[in-house]
């Protein structure tokens, strides 16, 4: 069986890694290539880069960064942020990215998922979905970095994205993001039961037990975290050893 994955996420702004709480309060957390190399050595299974200031002018900076990262590491990585056209996807994959994550653009134009997965294979297309629970307990989908609420409900949008050809779902709980009080296991479990593509949990990891809970209780395929790793609060090797002791299959 395929092993469960630990994925450090690097939010990138102008080639630097930043991380905030609840999508604001950005703190500089170091050089992206250096961090990528460090994580690769420490046993990360994959990396995700999210360009949070994607604009036409910055696009070249991102491609340059992707080329540098691809030369530096020998594990897969995903790039996301402001990707809206097949041409953007092709440029990023050619620069050395293994997958791209699409967020606002697929809400605007769901057929992009199908076009992109036909052209590049569904394994290269990650649907990144940000949700926030409203007062009636419904997980609503947000776009534009969490700034804009949509009409979409989280689970049905995940299922639609899978049907359209997405190869993975990167599910971020905006309620949990930056809080360090655990993943949104309840909603993640609904999604893993409702789709048959891999699901990556994101938002809320604060300690080893949170990862175990997401794997064991919610049945996710991968867990993503950022600040825990950037600020060395949690060591990836130790985390994986802990997971293995608790009968989760990981690559060590």
């Amino acid at each position: 069986m395929v092993s469960k994955r630990i994925i450090p996420c690097l939010d990138v702004k102008d080639g630097k890694v930043v991380k905030g709480t609840n999508f604001v309060n950005l703190i500089d957390a170091g050089d992206a290539v250096e961090l990528a190399e460090r994580y690769s050595k420490e046993g990360a299974d994959e990396l995700v880069f999210l360009d949070i200031t994607a604009s036409a002018e910055k696009r070249k900076t991102l491609l340059y960064l992707v080329e540098k990262v691809a030369k530096a590491i020998r594990i897969p990585f995903t790039v996301g942020g402001g990707i809206s056209e097949l041409q953007d996807i092709e440029s990023l994959l050619k620069a050395g990215a293994d997958k791209v994550s699409l967020n606002s653009s697929i809400v605007r134009n769901p057929s992009l998922i199908t076009e992109a997965s036909r052209r590049f294979g569904s394994q290269a297309i990650v649907a990144a979905i940000d949700t926030k629970r409203n007062i009636s307990g419904v997980n609503k989908v947000f776009v534009k970095g969490g700034r804009e609420e949509t009409e979409l409900e989280g689970l049905s949008w995940c299922q639609r994205a899978a049907e359209l050809g997405a190869g993975e779902i990167l599910l971020t709980s905006m309620d949990k993001d930056g809080t360090k009080d655990g993943y949104d296991v309840e909603f993640l479990k609904k999604v893993t039961s409702g789709v048959s593509i891999p699901v990556i949990a994101s938002g809320g990891a604060g300690k080893k037990e949170d990862f175990l809970d997401a794997f064991k209780t919610a049945g996710v395929d991968a867990c993503l975290a950022a600040s825990l790793f950037h600020f060395s609060i949690l060591d990836i090797k130790e985390l994986k050893q802990y997971l293995r002791e608790n009968n989760i299959k990981v690559r060590l």
């Binding site: 092993s3 294979g121 569904s122 290269a124 690559r251």
Partner: protein, 194 residues
């Protein structure tokens, strides 16, 4: 000289980077003449099978790839295309090895098969020299080639499938050595040293 085949259906950048890490010179090419005079041929592939076959037709490489005599390494989709047929786009493939490529059963397992999985060596193969049995390699595939007489290693995703194969000068691996850390580099190096 190593020919890395570029037919617009493979993420050649990562394979090129891995060869760079190994300090190995290579030629990125889709020309018959280059491939004919190469000592080793690397045939990567990412994406959809029928699109890839169409690209091979476009560059007039179908027949050549069937009859090359130098060691050829098919990676991921490149390995699947060595088989007889792919149900991805229902397309006839190169027919170098027997078997039909099938889709994993999404009622039983998640599809795509994505991540690091253990590769179990079933037959002696120089590709796996000094690589431990059960080593983890990185996979990203929705389709698989069933185990056949040329299978040298298997992995399991609901079903045992071909992770590596070998027939005469043709080698194939379903996983991505260029994305599989040190073990992947070791395997690539083993191919280059054949």
């Amino acid at each position: 000289m190593i020919a890395l085949i570029d037919y617009d259906a493979g993420n050649t950048a990562s394979v090129a980077n891995a060869l760079g890490t190994l300090g190995q010179e290579f030629l990125l090419t889709n020309k018959e003449a280059d491939i004919c005079r190469a000592d080793k041929i690397i045939f990567p592939g990412v994406g959809e099978a029928s699109f890839a076959i169409k690209q091979l037709h476009r560059y007039n490489l179908i027949n050549l790839l069937r009859i090359v005599k130098k060691p050829l390494l098919g990676i991921c989709l490149g390995m699947q295309l060595l088989s007889e047929f792919s149900s991805e786009g229902n397309i006839a493939c190169l027919g170098v090895v027997p078997g039909r490529v099938e889709k994993f059963d999404s009622s039983k397992v998640n599809v795509p098969h994505m991540g690091w999985n253990e590769v179990f060596q079933k037959k002696e193969s120089r590709l796996f020299k000094d690589i431990k049995d059960g080593e983890f390699f990185y996979f990203a595939n929705s389709y698989y080639l069933p185990v056949n007489e040329y299978t040298t290693a298997t992995a399991n995703h609901g079903i045992d499938f071909t992770a590596a194969l070998e027939k005469d000068n043709f080698y194939g691996i379903q996983f991505h050595p260029e994305k599989s850390g040190d073990a992947g580099l070791k395997l690539l190096n083993n191919f280059l040293e054949l």
